[in-house]
């Protein structure tokens, strides 16, 4: 376990280095923040002056090394648009996004687990067909559209929940439903097929031969064995929820990290985007590590070794 973690950590450092090169390079290819800041009648000289003041006039490799040497000690520079420390701006927003992602994950599980198990217990039943339909719709309807529809129905027509913003739990319900639906659809179908697959194996047939009830077999034996692919996907879905929060937060004007990212990208606010991507990269690496450790706990056949 110790060597496993050590190797993973070294590997992760290389991943982060790669991510930093890619995000730095892509951003520089995407344009120039000074172009967006200056008045329309600004001259080329004005651009040069502003670039110099913002440290954007150095050759790219020099800019990258400066960025890297500061990033290692946690200094991601100052936001070009807001003149605030970039890492602090991202860090301030992470809790709001985690709150939203966590509740969306709970929503996804609350919908997916009962539906998936029930569909596997009674394949081709009415509920199973209904859940296929829901999965199709849940995955096909864009997050954006679902969010707007929920706002129009629940906030404008029924006047039940606030249309936007962050505050109490009431502000989280609609965004979490919007964001959780997609993952719910995905997990639900995967759980169903994975249980059905396990139900076809020898040890289940043995259990059946012993005369156990179907429900007992599914819950006691099949579910645990069907869990591995589902856990993998749930780990991936946590990452998907984080990235999905970009659209959801924009629709609901929810002040999380996703909204910050969209605006920082629009403004070519390089330091904020870089800080955001690095923070998310670290989070995803941690989630994947946790998923791998959970495998070992759920399935004793998975050996976590160096």
């Amino acid at each position: 376990m110790g060597t496993f973690l050590a190797r993973r950590l070294i590997f992760s450092a290389f991943v982060l280095l790669g991510v930093s090169v890619i995000v730095f390079g892509l951003l520089r290819l995407s344009g120039d923040p000074t172009a967006l800041m200056l008045p329309i009648d600004a001259t080329e000289e004005d651009e040069i002056v502003l670039r110099r003041a913002l440290g954007l006039d150095e050759p790219l490799p020099v800019q990258y090394l400066t960025f890297l040497s500061r990033a290692v000690v946690g200094d991601f520079g100052t936001s070009i648009r807001h003149r605030q420390p970039a890492l602090q701006m991202v860090a301030e927003r992470i809790p709001a996004t985690l709150e939203l992602a966590a509740l969306s994950f709970v929503v996804a599980l609350l919908i997916a687990l009962p539906l998936g198990i029930f569909s596997a217990l009674y394949p081709n039943s009415f509920i199973d067909r209904l859940s296929v339909l829901m999965a199709l719709v849940g995955q096909a309807v864009p997050t954006f559209l679902l969010g707007i529809i929920l706002i129009l129905v629940v906030s404008v027509q029924l006047q039940l929940l606030p249309a936007f913003g962050r505050g109490g739990i009431e502000n989280l319900i609609l965004p979490a439903l919007t964001l959780g639906t997609y993952s719910a659809a995905f997990i639900n179908r995967l759980l169903r097929s994975s249980i059905l697959e396990v139900l076809d194996t020898d040890f289940i047939r043995t259990a059946r031969a012993k005369g156990f009830a179907n429900r007992y077999i599914v819950i006691r034996h099949a579910l645990k064995n069907a869990a591995i692919p589902v856990i993998t996907v749930m780990g991936l879905q946590v990452s998907a929820l984080l990235s999905g929060s970009v659209v959801t937060e924009t629709v609901f004007a929810y002040p999380g990290a996703g909204l910050l990212l969209v605006q920082a990208l629009g403004n070519r606010d390089f330091p904020v985007v870089q800080a955001f991507v690095m923070v998310i990269a670290v989070l995803v690496i941690i989630i994947n590590l946790v998923v791998d450790v959970i495998y070992g706990l759920v399935d004793p056949r998975v050996q976590i070794t160096g």
Binding site: S30, G31, D32, T34, A35, L36, M37, L38, P39, I40, D41, A42, T43, E44, E45, D46, E47, V49, L50, R52, A53, L54, T78, R81, H82, R83, Q84, P85, M89, E92, R93, I148, I151, L152, S155, V156, Q159, L160, L161, P162, A163, F164, G165, R166, G168, I169, E170, T250, V251, F252, A253, P255, L259, L260, V262, Q263, G266, R268
Partner: protein, 501 residues
């Protein structure tokens, strides 16, 4: 029965979480399209931020909603030499932190952006200032590098900031904690969530009626409209033209519009395509452009055609100039005369995601021009790309669709940098025009200037260096009981708002 009870419990629980809409008579919530950039007025160049800041800060000279200049923090301004303006400050004005406003603050406010290491996007605008001289506590002289008739107009844009406060505090702190002389004091800012202001009871123009103001950024247009309809906010900016009809049937909501200072045009570069160097081809393009149709179909009528590239209300614009009529036959004739009777292909750079319906306008133009035999190779660029090409100049193809917003409301704004200055973005050269506009730039006789711009516009009208399109309207959605009229410069001055009882 059991279900019914459960339902009742759920319904009750939901009632508890229903937001209580701001029905407080002295509070107002305003939803903008984006959040403020920085609350340091000299470190931003952004319409929404300026709108918020206009409530916290004042200017030396005030521009009224009908674009006239009147006293602000300065009671009087006078030209005492060709390059020297003397301003007299009002006495007894204090900043929100208690500091008294003196000439030293004015000197600081006008000279600080000249420090290039500040990284202010507005530095270029201040370069005309040679020096600010403090005569006494309430008199300053502004020396300009050359005779500069636009100074009063510029002084109506520039916010006055307190010197001691800015010098004593860290820039990052100042840019989140503004202190001005304005009608509202800053209370709190949670980025992308809300920005709160409270009435300044000691305001020199008199205490404002609305006590508490909350600005909330809602980037997604549909959500912004929904928030108004749901009663969560009282005033919203940038309602899409096609949604105006919904407001006609709502009994407590209204649409209020105003022609914006922004106009749209297509720049033509004769050095990149020789056909465009021929004035007949440029006129043909203007004749082939059906602007009323674009305004009607893409903006639901919320726009006004312009005859020359200047916004209404601009100093120097003769508003009696009639736009070119839509006349495709005349366009075909002119093209045939110029030797392009068999057709012509031109490329166009057009942005997407910046102006309302920008992409659609470019496509409509391509469609209209196709009818007279001009094929348009359309490059639709994301806004940042379009702007990068524009800044570079050389990167633009032979025509580009863009918008231009004025802040001085003076013809110099467009005419100098777009046509007289060299190089300009369309590489346009006309010695006579350059002479007229350059003379007007340093003339201190407003009548002479108006005359010069009249002649310059006559040349532009004939020469068609740009295709003049239209000015859009800014469309706001408001609660019907708000007494408020929008300004053409997008500033929402909350002190001018009252609520009908």
């Amino acid at each position: 029965m059991k279900h019914l009870r459960l339902l009742a419990v759920i319904a009750f629980a939901l009632l508890l979480v229903v937001p209580t809409a701001a029905q407080d008579e002295s509070s107002i919530t305003i939803a903008l399209g984006t959040d403020a950039a920085s609350l340091d007025p000299q470190l931003q160049n952004d319409a929404f931020t300026t709108s918020i800041l206009s409530n916290i800060f004042d200017t030396l000279i005030y521009r009224t909603a009908d674009l006239a200049l009147e006293p602000g923090l300065a009671t009087d301004w006078e030209l005492i030499e060709d390059t020297t303006w003397e301003l007299t400050l009002q006495e007894g004005i204090t900043f929100h932190n208690g500091e008294a406003l003196t000439a030293a603050d004015v000197e600081f406010s006008l000279e600080r952006p000249l420090d290039e290491s500040l990284g202010s996007p507005l530095t270029s605008r201040f370069r005309v200032i040679e020096d600010v001289e403090v005569v006494n506590d309430f008199t300053v002289r502004v020396h300009t590098v050359n005779p500069y008739p636009l100074l009063p107009a510029r002084l109506s844009e520039w916010f006055i900031i307190p010197q001691d406060y800015f010098e004593a505090n860290d820039p990052a702190f100042v840019s989140e904690n503004p202190v001005g002389t304005g009608a509202y004091r800053f209370v709190e800012w949670v980025r992308d969530d809300h920005l709160d202001l409270v009435a300044n009871e000691d305001y020199w123009r008199g205490a404002p009626e609305i006590q508490n103001v909350r600005f909330r950024p809602i980037p997604e247009t549909s959500t912004r409209v929904a928030a108004l309809q749901a009663g969560d906010v009282d005033l919203i900016t940038n309602v899409p033209a096609f949604r105006q009809a919904e407001f006609e049937t709502a009994d407590n909501l209204e649409i209020r519009t105003v022609p914006s200072t922004f106009f749209q045009y297509v720049g033509l570069d004769g050095t990149k395509n020789e056909a465009l160097a021929d004035v007949r081809v440029r006129q043909a393009l203007q004749y082939a452009t059906n602007v009323p149709e674009i305004i009607e179909f893409l903006f639901d009528g919320s726009g006004a055609q312009i005859a020359v590239p200047l916004a209404f209300g601009t100093f120097g614009l003769d508003e009696s100039i009639e736009p070119y009529p839509y006349d495709p036959d005349r366009a075909r004739e002119l093209l045939a005369e110029a030797g392009y009777g068999d057709g012509l292909t031109i490329a166009m750079d057009a942005p997407t995601g910046r102006y309302a319906q920008d992409r659609e306008v470019a496509e409509a133009l391509a469609g209209q021009w196709a009818q007279v035999g001009i094929t348009v190779d359309l490059n639709i660029n994301a806004w940042a790309d379009q702007l990068a090409r524009y800044r570079d100049g050389d990167a633009l193809v032979e025509t580009h669709f863009m918008g231009w917003g004025t802040s001085t409301f003076d013809a110099d704004d467009v005419l100098f940098s777009a046509f007289a200055n060299r190089p300009n973005k369309t590489n346009y050269i006309n010695d006579e025009l350059t002479e007229l506009v350059t003379t007007a730039r340093t003339s201190l006789d407003q009548e002479e200037r108006a005359e010069l711009y009249g002649q310059a516009l006559a040349i532009i009208y004939e020469e068609v260096p740009w295709i003049s399109l239209f000015q859009q309207f800014d469309i706001y959605g408001v609660r019907s009981d708000l007494n408020w009229q929008p300004r053409p410069d997008q500033k929402i001055e909350v002190r001018t708002i009252s609520i009908e009882s």
